[in-house]
Structures are given as C-alpha cells and as structure tokens.
Symmetry: C2
Subunit: 166 residues, 2 copies
Amino acid sequence: MDAYEAIITKRDTRSYLPDPVDPDELDQVLRAARMAGSAKNSQLTRLVVVTDGETRERLAECGDFTGWIGNAPVVIVLVAPVEGGRLFDLGRMAQNLMVAAHDLGLATCPVTFHHQDRLRPVLGLPEDTEGPMAITLGRPGPPDPSRPSAPRLPLDELVHRERWQD
Amino acid sequence: MDAYEAIITKRDTRSYLPDPVDPDELDQVLRAARMAGSAKNSQLTRLVVVTDGETRERLAECGDFTGWIGNAPVVIVLVAPVEGGRLFDLGRMAQNLMVAAHDLGLATCPVTFHHQDRLRPVLGLPEDTEGPMAITLGRPGPPDPSRPSAPRLPLDELVHRERWQD
C-alpha cells in the first residue's frame, strides 16, 4: 500500500478474528517498530509479544478498559524504564507498528494498563520498568456497530498558523 | 513510496536546505498527523506551524539542544493540555507526520522544548497548554558527517517473547 494511504486509512479496531498472526507478518510489524527513532537514540523502549491465551486473559485485568483484549490473538506490551518518561518514544514506535500492520491488512488498537502492580508479575517485568501501553493485533473481525468510526477535527481546528489563535 | 519502505527508511535529520516547503506538501503532512488516533478519540493535541524566521530563532532558545532549529524552514510545535499527559498521542501524531514527510522526500527531526516559560510567550500559548516537543521540517541538506546514522538494536534484543527475559 502507498505510505500516505496507509497512514490516513489506519483506524483503531477492537474486533479480531481468533486466527493466529503469520510469524513473518508479525516480524515485519516488529521491524517497523524497531526503526522508530528515540530521544538521543537511547533505545530504552522494549516490546513483549504475548500470544499465550492464559497470559492474554491476565493482561485483560491490568487496565480499567482492557476487558476485551483477550480476544486479540496478539498483545504487544510497550515497556520502558520507570524513570525518564518515554511515552513520546513509545507513541512513535506504536504508530510505526500499527501503520505497518494496517499495510498488511492487520487490525490494531492501543490500550492503557493502569495497574502496573498487576502487570509486572504477569510478564515478569523488573520493578524499574513499566508497561503503560499495549497494542492489540490480529486479523480484523466484523465491524462493531456500537463503535462507529471516530471522526477527526477539521484541519484548520487542529492546526494553528505561526501563533496560537483562540 | 510503499508504506513499509517509508517506515523503515525514515531517519531523523537535522540538515535542511533553506527553501520553503510547498504548501500542498505541508498540507499533506498535516493531514497525516490529523489521522493519528488519540486516547478515547479525545483529540486534545494541536499543532502550531511556524515558518516566520524571527519566531524560529526564538523557538531555538526554548530547549537545551535546539540551537540549530532555526535552520529548518518549518517548525511544527506539538501542543497539548498541561493536565492529562498526552505524550503518547503526540508521539503517534509525530510519527505519522514524519513518515508522510519522508514519503514526499522531506526531512524531519523531533526536538524537546525544556523551557515552557520561554515557549508560551513566543507562540501565545495559554497557561493550561504546553508544547513539549516539536518537529523540524524541510528539504534535506547535505549529510552531516559528524552525525552518523543511528544504529538500531537487533530485533531479538528489542523484542521479548511471551515474558520478560533477562
């Protein structure tokens, strides 16, 4: 798919088929994540790729709005040091991963893990790391009519020219 | 350009030609940013596009490592509410913007503004907003031999399978 088309047609999706993701496709998605830049090229972020069903069910209990994520065949947890605030770098990595997945016809959605005290034992994360976000991944399932496509702000409301305009 | 190719060949670049960016290309880049998802589709992030030379010179004084950014013909400041921590969403938006720019042959680099007290008056930002990061944008200049291409971790060092492995 053309790059611009992939970027503007990628939407977050929570409906998945249970089929496993092809390992070569998963690797391509992970290589896209790998190439995202990081502050001072520090590369302090890591990924934990979870396909095991029992682990995914336990991950579903680690966020306030994550009850559904066990339905995705793959959950990719974004990990960073507790100190240092790497959320911008994690966002860059997540977007590369998700656009590359969309390019392969795979669906993705970011989720927040509010409860690091629950998450760490599930994945065996060291105390000085955290997994604030994850990306669900899989073949798209049927659209959920209760979740309509999210509209975007008009460009001239998003973008201010030269200075902030109230 | 193919989406996967655009994602994996995009590198952060600090060397720019002074030429202005074509308005249609700038709009395409901004539309790519616009389509990045946000937590609960809250869309609380905004962009301030700065091309004015004097304003760019003042922006160069708003970060600890931003002395060079006046050389880029466009600086796009990423703005979010102070409350709520939108760095992950800003990272998603930034990556869409930068990959779309690369697809057009334009160079980009993220920078950090450490000094919000200096930044707010430059852009007229309200006190309840902040611009923690910006993206420089322009036609690529000659490569800087003092800044070699940043290598990436091997995939099996970045990625843990099923659980954290020390």
